[in-house]
């Protein structure tokens, strides 16, 4: 239970800061001569969320103070290996974003699919290669050819366009 209350406390704290940020951020917006202006809606939202945050913070602190200190301090922790897998997955997408503009869609995607499948536990290299190539061709046909999405170009796309397939 205390884990949920602590989570609520943290979220309410973040919202309180966010609300103050919105109030400050909108303070230099031009003032309207009419009843409502550019600032009105975000300001009302910030005031409502700020008020709600203060209520939750007060309530959470009161609950935590009444609670025995040793009760359910830690929630079920995630396995370290799972945390690493999640971090690697997120970093993988971030690297993809950074590389795709220069590497082009085809090469970056083949490498991405192959590396991720290998990392997630597929150890048969022929399977990794087939999976990555067939997967990228399918996505390319679906989005690049059917939906006509202009993908970032790299060496592979240039070769394809040279031989008249791009």
């Amino acid at each position: 239970m205390s884990r949920d209350v602590r989570n609520d406390l943290i979220v309410a704290g973040i919202f309180a800061i966010l609300s103050v940020g919105v109030i400050i951020g909108t303070s230099d917006y031009p003032v309207s001569e009419r009843a409502v202006g550019i600032r009105t809606f975000p300001l009302i939202l910030a005031l409502l969320l700020g008020g709600l945050s203060i209520l939750v913070i007060v309530r959470s602190v009161l609950i935590l103070r009444k609670m025995p200190r040793n009760e359910d301090q830690a929630g079920p922790a995630i396995d370290k290996r799972v945390v690493t897998q999640i971090v690697i997955t997120v970093v993988g997408v971030a690297v993809y974003i950074a590389v795709v503009s220069t590497g082009g869609f085809i090469i970056t995607s083949v490498l991405y699919l192959g590396v991720m499948a290998y990392y997630f536990g597929e150890r048969r290299l022929w399977m990794v290669a087939t999976y990555a190539i067939v997967g990228v061709i399918s996505v390319y046909l679906l989005f690049g050819v059917l939906a006509r999405v202009p993908f970032p170009e790299g060496p592979a796309e240039q070769i394809l366009s040279t031989i008249g397939l791009g």
Binding site: F41, F120, F151
Partner: protein, 504 residues
């Protein structure tokens, strides 16, 4: 209305591609719904970018078909391996898996397919008549009513999604705040974009919903990457014989009506839409003792109710712009991306699109039966595709889908950001549907709010000037009270059952 529906059929059949899309959508939906961990919502989110170049009616047909297929597909792993693909399919698992254990998986899958198809068909008929009537009623709404309606939608969804009303309200507030990023809807002044050119138009909806509903789900699934896959047998679906069909038809009919009505109330969603018809079928059965031990009626009631509730949820989504749960919230986003404005005006400005989609839904219900019976024998293999191959492919689809809307790498980063947000919120039990709803309804709420106050010269009493507004305000307050009591009661039960819980 009949004329419009016939025109809808004519429009549907005038595009041969439409029928292909129905088959493709139902097929994709069944596969995605059947794979434990994947959902129809994720399928719709990933398929959205594919609809950009299409006519709105074609795009919507694809998305609605994935939706219907996904709802049906969720029941298959429940019957075969006792692992429901979606929470709403848990009710059909109760008797479906018992039938499988008794060596009657073929019959269970056949009844499941027939009930899904019939439930979808009957529910679509109610949708056609119900939504037209509701849209007509809502045509007289002014900006004040639209603002209150948006607030009503947000409070209802915040009240009943997740474990706590308070958490839902926070998330709806976050969605509304995020919707204010970019150029303001009336004067065109940039807000909170911090000089970032790509944020000038605010957060693009597709990357946001791909992040919230697909990338976050992939990250959640990584946590069970090492869980061994349960192998399923290869089973053919067998259509029940005429005698069985006659015996289950009253149950299917009653469950479809009940499911549609429950689905049409924003919030309760498909879970109650399947369990309440199941409970009612058991209550009114001549052999209630057979329920839970392999009753065909149980599978029929749960599955007809489940599909009917999903389609029933389209009534408030299309007519009022208020989706009841995640899948319809994503569909609502799809409507807007295809250039349509959800709400009563949709039935005036784009009646041909609406009725073409209704016609497609009726065809899709028939196609569902056909495809469900054919695909059943392959499902045992499909639902056991290893996650180590599935998850990277889904991530690539998410990346490409986010990129495709504006050909922008920046949008992929936005999707990743929303994915991380969705994952973090999932870990601490905060709902994500209200964020999406806030993002969608935010601009409508703000422009209606400002227009109403401009009309009234700043007098806030305009929001209490009509009966509709007052009724909606009362309903919003009631939904908060009801939601608070409901979540408190669920939390108390969870606590007494020894589960970790908290109430607000």
């Amino acid at each position: 209305m009949i004329e419009q529906l016939l025109a809808g059929f004519a429009l549907t059949f005038s595009h041969p591609f439409n029928i292909v899309l129905i088959f493709a959508g139902i097929g994709i939906g069944i596969i995605l719904g059947a794979m434990p961990g994947l959902t129809a919502t994720m399928g719709i989110a990933i398929a959205l970018p594919l609809t950009f170049g299409m006519e709105p009616e074609l795009g919507l047909t694809l998305l609605a078909s994935i939706f219907i297929g996904g709802i049906h597909g969720g029941g298959i792993p429940g019957i075969l391996i006792r692992t429901p693909g979606t929470p709403a399919s848990a009710a059909s698992m109760i008797d479906g898996f018992e039938l499988s254990k008794q060596g009657q998986a073929s019959l269970a899958l056949g009844v499941h397919a027939f009930s899904s198809s019939t439930g979808s068909f009957l529910s679509t008929i109610i949708l056609i008549f119900g939504s037209a009537a509701l849209a007509n009623f809502a045509l007289d709404f002014g900006p004040a009513e639209f603002f209150i309606l948006a607030i009503f939608g947000l409070t209802v969804v915040s009240s009943v999604t997740g474990r706590s009303t308070l958490r839902g309200l926070f998330m709806a507030g976050l969605g509304l705040l995020l919707s204010t990023v970019g150029i303001d809807p009336i004067r065109g002044y940039p807000r909170f974009s911090f000089g970032v050119y790509e944020l000038a138009d605010g957060f693009s909806l597709v990357p946001a919903l791909i992040g919230l509903f697909a990338i976050s789900q992939v990250l959640v699934e990584i946590m069970t990457l090492d869980v061994p896959i349960i192998q399923a047998e290869r089973v053919r679906a067998r259509l029940p014989n005429a005698k069985t069909i006659r015996s289950i038809m009253p149950t299917i009919f009653k469950s479809s009506v009940l499911g549609t009505l429950i689905g049409a109330i924003p919030g309760p969603g498909a879970v109650l839409g399947s369990f309440i018809p199941y409970a009612e079928a058991k209550r009114s059965s001549k052999h209630p003792e057979k329920f839970g031990k392999g009753a065909i009626e149980g599978v029929a009631a749960a599955e007809a109710g489940n599909n009917a509730a999903a389609i029933g949820a389209l009534i408030p989504t299309l007519t009022l712009g208020i989706p009841g749960e995640a899948a319809t919230a994503v569909l609502l986003g799809g409507l807007m991306i295809l250039g349509l404005r959800p709400g009563p005006m949709l039935f005036v400005e784009n009646a041909h699109v609406v009725y073409s989609v209704f016609a497609s839904l009726l065809i899709a219900a028939v196609v569902l039966l056909f495809l469900a019976l054919i695909m059943a024998k392959h499902m045992g293999k499909l639902i056991t595709v290893p996650k180590k191959l599935l998850l990277p492919a889904i991530l690539l689809f998410c990346i490409v889908g986010s990129y495709a809307i504006r050909n922008s790498i920046f949008d992929v980063g936005i999707a990743l950001g929303f994915g991380l947000l969705g994952f973090a919120l999932n870990r601490i039990d905060y709902p994500t549907v209200p964020i999406l709803l806030g993002l969608i309804l935010g601009p409508i709420a703000e422009s209606s709010f400002r227009r109403a106050l401009l009309v009234s010269r700043g007098d806030p009493m305009i929001f209490l000037s009509s009966t509709v507004s007052i009724v909606l305000i009362v309903l919003s307050v009631l939904s908060l009270v009801f939601g608070y009591r409901l979540t408190s009661s669920i939390n108390r039960q969870a606590k007494s059952a020894g589960l970790n819980s908290d109430s607000d």
